[in-house]
């Protein structure tokens, strides 16, 4: 979280509370302990900034200017500012200006967004708050498949490589009806 904040600010690293005397300091050679330059008695952990090339997040609604409404619990706005290119998938694309309308949720201003892609049920197999819940059966299927290389390959073949597009994916996971019913 702090590392993304550093990415947003375009500074190379950031001090972080905690981490000292945990094994993260041992297994992450890029996590360093330094002295607070303003109070040398205080040790503090520093971590390098994260500035992704591309960020992808899912939102509830998007407009043609790139404004996106997400649920309030996500960090889409943070990620969108840290990354160079930003793709938002959304449940629906609407006409009008989401930045000027009252809304429930968090607004990611279009100035941070490169592309908005309509993808109903796009959070599947996880849920999208207020729209649909987690697909627990599918997550269980994924967990079983992820146990071994061959079953995982079969999973990818069926749901990822084997589906032409998002609509085809939803048909394969048995979710196309839910989308049709809402449309």
């Amino acid at each position: 979280m702090n590392a993304l904040q550093a990415g947003v600010m375009n500074v190379p690293f950031v001090p972080v509370r905690g981490l000292l005397h945990t094994d993260y300091m041992r297994v992450r050679p890029d996590f360093l302990e330094m002295r607070n330059p303003y109070d040398p008695a205080e040790p503090i952990a520093v971590v390098p900034a994260i500035a992704p090339d591309v960020a992808v997040f899912h939102g509830l609604r998007g407009d043609h200017a790139g404004n996106v409404i997400t649920t309030v619990t996500t960090d889409a706005k943070l990620i969108a500012q840290a990354a160079r290119r930003v793709v938002a998938t959304v449940e629906e694309v609407v006409d009008g200006d989401l930045a000027r309308e009252p809304h429930v949720g968090a607004l990611v201003p279009g100035i941070h967004v490169t592309a908005v892609v309509r993808a109903p049920h796009g959070a599947h197999p996880t849920g999208c708050a207020g729209r649909y819940g987690d697909d627990a059966d599918h997550i269980r299927e994924y967990l079983r498949a992820a146990q071994a290389d061959d079953t995982f390959r079969a999973y990818l073949e069926r749901y990822v490589r084997g589906t032409r597009d998002h609509a085809d994916y939803l048909r394969e996971v048995g979710r196309d009806r839910a989308v049709l019913e809402r449309a």
């Binding site: 905690g18 005397h21 309030v72």
Partner: protein
């Protein structure tokens, strides 16, 4: 377990529950119905119980400023020194299991006043002499910024409390029907217990009734799978 945890929360406290923690969530909701009506609850993953508008970033910054009284964790491994592991089992270079615990538990136990760990399946696999990986240390040397630490571990057998001076977990109480021998047999380090071992007061009829009615109704919106499974049992 939910009742034992609920009783550790005080009125007016700010209590945050992580995203896969239905037992602490039940406990916090129960505490609000009983002795802590003014407790402020943050249930991560539930927009209705999330008082921020700036995402998890705002939540973490809130915590970093020392504004959380209680946060919960589980623990793939918990050791006698009060350190716990929610990161990797085995050699960190070639782990047998990888877990997602570092984001919250690498930092929050330093700044939250009290961390309460909950753990079903009390066993030697979980309660080990020394964790494979320290996600959060039980204690830290003087000089390290630390506003709080581990309060207790609540398992399905009873409560182990962290003693800050002796820097170790000690038995606080056994759940009714559990013997010290049984808990010791399922704990991988020596249990320090006052003789005779205290017993946790059993849940009252009212606590159980609230858990099965109003708490369950509120919880179903956040943890539908957990409510479905516990209702079936």
């Amino acid at each position: 377990m939910a009742v034992a945890i609920a009783r550790r929360l005080a009125d007016g406290e700010t209590v945050a529950v992580g995203s896969v923690s239905p037992i602490p969530a039940s406990a916090a909701l129960l505490a609000r119905e009983t002795h802590a009506p003014r407790a402020r609850l943050i249930l991560l993953g539930s927009p209705e119980h999330f008082p921020f508008t700036g995402g998890m970033q705002e939540f973490y910054n809130f915590a970093m400023r020392g504004k959380l009284d209680v946060f919960f964790g589980s623990g793939a491994q918990i050791d006698q020194h009060g350190s716990f592991n929610l990161s990797v089992i085995g050699d960190p270079g070639r782990p047998t299991v990888r877990l997602p615990g570092g984001r919250a538990q690498g930092v929050l136990p330093f700044v939250v006043r009290r961390t309460i760990l909950f753990r079903t399946n009390h066993s030697r696999r979980v309660f080990v002499p020394r964790v494979d990986f320290v996600t959060a240390p039980g204690s830290t040397p003087e000089g390290v910024y630390r506003l709080g630490g581990l309060d207790a571990v609540v398992s399905d057998l009873g409560i182990l409390r962290f003693h800050p001076e002796r820097r170790r977990l000690e038995l606080e109480s056994l759940f009714p029907g559990v013997t010290l021998e049984e808990m010791q047999a399922r704990t991988g380090f020596p249990l320090h217990a006052p003789p005779p071992a205290p017993v946790t007061p059993a849940p009252t009829a009212r606590e159980l009734e609230l858990l099965r009615s109003v708490v369950r109704e509120r919880l179903v919106a956040v943890y539908p799978e957990f409510v479905r499974q516990t209702a079936a049992e």
